[in-house]
Amino acid sequence: MRLEGAIDCDVHCAPASIDALLPYMDDYWRDYVANAGMTLSPTQTGTYPEAVSPAPPADVDALREQVLDPWGLQRAVLTCASAFDISRNPYYETALCKAINDWLRSEWLDRDERLRASMLVPTLDPEAAIEEIERIGGDPRFVAVLLPIRVDARWGTKRFHPLHEAIARHDLVLALHAWGRIGAAPTASGTTHTYFEDYLANSQSIAQGQVMSLVAEGVFERVPDLRVVLLECGFAWLPPMLWRFDKDWKAVWREVPWLKAKPSEYVQRHFRFATAPAQLPHDRDQTAHLAEMLGAEELLVFASDHPHRHGDGNLEVLLDVLGDAGRDAVMRGNAEALYRLAA
């Protein structure tokens, strides 16, 4: 795959341990971490087992060596999902998010101008999340707010509308990323026994539930400028989901009178999807049909999801189907518009 000049929307980094974050915590939390024996797994406990992923780069030199220099990327947007795997203490979650954001700023963004980052905000305390956006949202190198898809309450629910307003007010992107709180069962019937099943739940049900929620709850009528990107959630599943969504809305629109357009129109207008994991057919004709159903040329933004491995996704077939202009849009142009990266 030609990566020269591309914008990579999902490159992972992670502190090697909690020790890397201690300089960015105050005395109370340093003491709390020591007394509780808090740890921070670079592979987010069971989220990224060794079999499918080595630990992400822990410093900018490793990232340059593994990704930035050999691939010739124009820009990379950092994802640090280390705060997804945490306790239920909302104040600790807030302290951890702030520490990670300051660590990202000092040890990554300040050291390589090709880098941008998604900021972390607490999931359990929307007011604290807004405060964190107010605190660092003025730094143009933070281009998105990272939220996990596995949470207690769907992101479209009313309690989060002020958070979405704050994201839009700062011209940031809402970045929904696979996985989330450990201990949250991925299915309506509870926990799974295999990683395979747990992993598939991200793309095949949970991420889709979040898209349904953001649209059905009227978030985009309330916050018309909000832009959303789905990271590491797949995208080939979108057309059938939208066909169901549009059909149901035509029948039960009375329940959601705030929607002024078909659900699929909100998705086309407000959502972009990262290309990893690709999860595409082998067959070129089928890929061409799918690309048309998706409107892939406008919908997709390139992501390597380094260092995670997702198997044979057949992305190259799709890029080939899209031709030179479509390929350039997916590899660079769409992300530039999404994150407002044009200088």
């Binding site: 509870g190 295999t194 395979f196 739940a201 049900s205 949970i206 539930g209 169901r244 149901d248 198997g311």
Partner: protein
């Protein structure tokens, strides 16, 4: 029987004479409490009358903001949509010329998760009502067996009771249960179904514990997500190795759409190529297994703006010989057999979906 042609050869048995052009694979009969109480032994009858049931019905969680969830014309005098055989016969079987109709009584979805013996008594009462008040009154009808699923040894007993009656053609599962449906807890039920030569039929509904993403607020979301609950069910059966244990088991996925299956199979194959030692019992691509074990029903079929895209999405599955027409009578989103499939669906495929595939699975015609 009005739909039976008069021309068949003298030696052939009546069933073989029938030219089947329409099979409806999802019809919901609904016994009323006054139908069930007399079919319950004590102490269950008193408990039913005094305490009712503990497991809520999904409509209580997500009110249907469309004709209260039923076809507006399907309410019989003093009854409930689906409770009156004569109305069901007139509105569905006769009006649309249904050659065979497969009943799916949904009470088992909540009854089956009550206290063990109580659950068994309730499910048996439903099955008996279906047999006496529906199947015995019209030979076009077939049914699904309601089960006390969460108590597998009692569920097996209920399968054994009806396995000898050829009108009971499948064994009913909810899409949401106490455990993911691939869990070994349920394997004795699946083994009993396979040994009786009966497919499983997973119908949308049951427990709606929207863990993972959290709970939806509206029926709109809950209804769109039905497909995703079914995806979780199918993934669970494959991931847990049910089909290595019971290779002949067939599973019908009802009222959850179809078009998601292509993308699901691409995702499973892609994941399998990266993590096959996590599911070491899967000795070939999951899509290959999926295509050999699952069936679909049409209602509520997806409706892209360009109908040709529906045909393409069905072709993505590689399973067009495993899709069966369903009306979902008497629910609000009933699909008329005349209008379900867009004109873009080729004639030969249409004939398979409207009747041929169901005849093959259920041994009809």
């Amino acid at each position: 029987m009005s739909s039976m042609p008069e021309t068949a050869g003298a030696a052939a048995p009546p069933e073989a004479q029938r030219r089947v052009s329409l099979v409806d694979a999802d019809i919901h009969p609904a016994p009323l409490p006054r139908h069930l109480a007399p079919r319950l032994d004590e102490p269950w009858r008193s408990r039913f009358e005094r305490y009712g049931v503990r497991v809520p019905n999904p409509p209580q969680l997500y009110p249907r903001v469309r004709n209260t969830g039923y076809r507006a014309d399907s309410w019989p005098e003093g009854g409930f949509p689906g409770s009156d055989f004569e109305l069901l016969r007139a509105q569905l079987l006769d009006e649309h010329g249904v050659d065979y109709g497969v009943l799916i009584p949904l009470h088992g979805h909540s009854f089956g998760a009550e206290a063990p013996e109580y659950a068994a008594a309730l499910c048996h009462a439903v099955n008996e009502w279906v047999r006496e008040e529906m199947l015995d009154r019209d030979e076009r009808l077939r049914s699904s067996i309601n089960l006390p699923l969460e108590t597998p040894e009692l569920a097996v007993r209920e399968i054994e009771r009806y396995a000898g009656d050829p009108r009971f053609v499948q064994v009913l599962l909810p899409s949401g249960a106490e455990y993911p449906l691939g869990n070994r807890k349920y394997w004795p039920v699946y083994r009993a179904a396979a040994e009786a030569g009966l497919p499983l039929v997973a119908h949308t509904g049951g427990f709606e514990q929207h863990r993972g993403a959290g709970w939806p607020s509206y029926y709109l979301e809950a209804h769109v997500f039905y497909a995703n609950a079914m995806i979780a069910l199918a993934t669970s059966l494959i991931a847990e190795g049910v089909f290595q244990e019971l290779p002949d088991l067939q599973v019908v996925l009802v009222e959850a759409g179809i078009s998601w299956a292509g993308p699901l199979m691409w995702a499973m194959d892609s994941a399998w190529s990266a993590m096959r030692d996590d599911v070491a019992h899967l000795d070939r691509e999951p899509s290959e297994l999926f295509r050999e074990q699952f069936w679909f029903t049409t209602q509520p079929i997806e409706e892209p703006d360009d109908p040709q895209q529906l045909v393409q999405a069905l072709e993505f599955t590689g399973m067009t010989d495993r899709i069966m027409f369903a009306s979902d009578y008497p629910h609000w989103d009933f699909d008329s057999p005349a209008m379900t499939l867009p004109r873009a669906v080729p004639k030969e495929l249409r004939a398979k979906i409207m009747a041929g595939n169901a005849c093959r699975l259920y041994g009809l015609g």
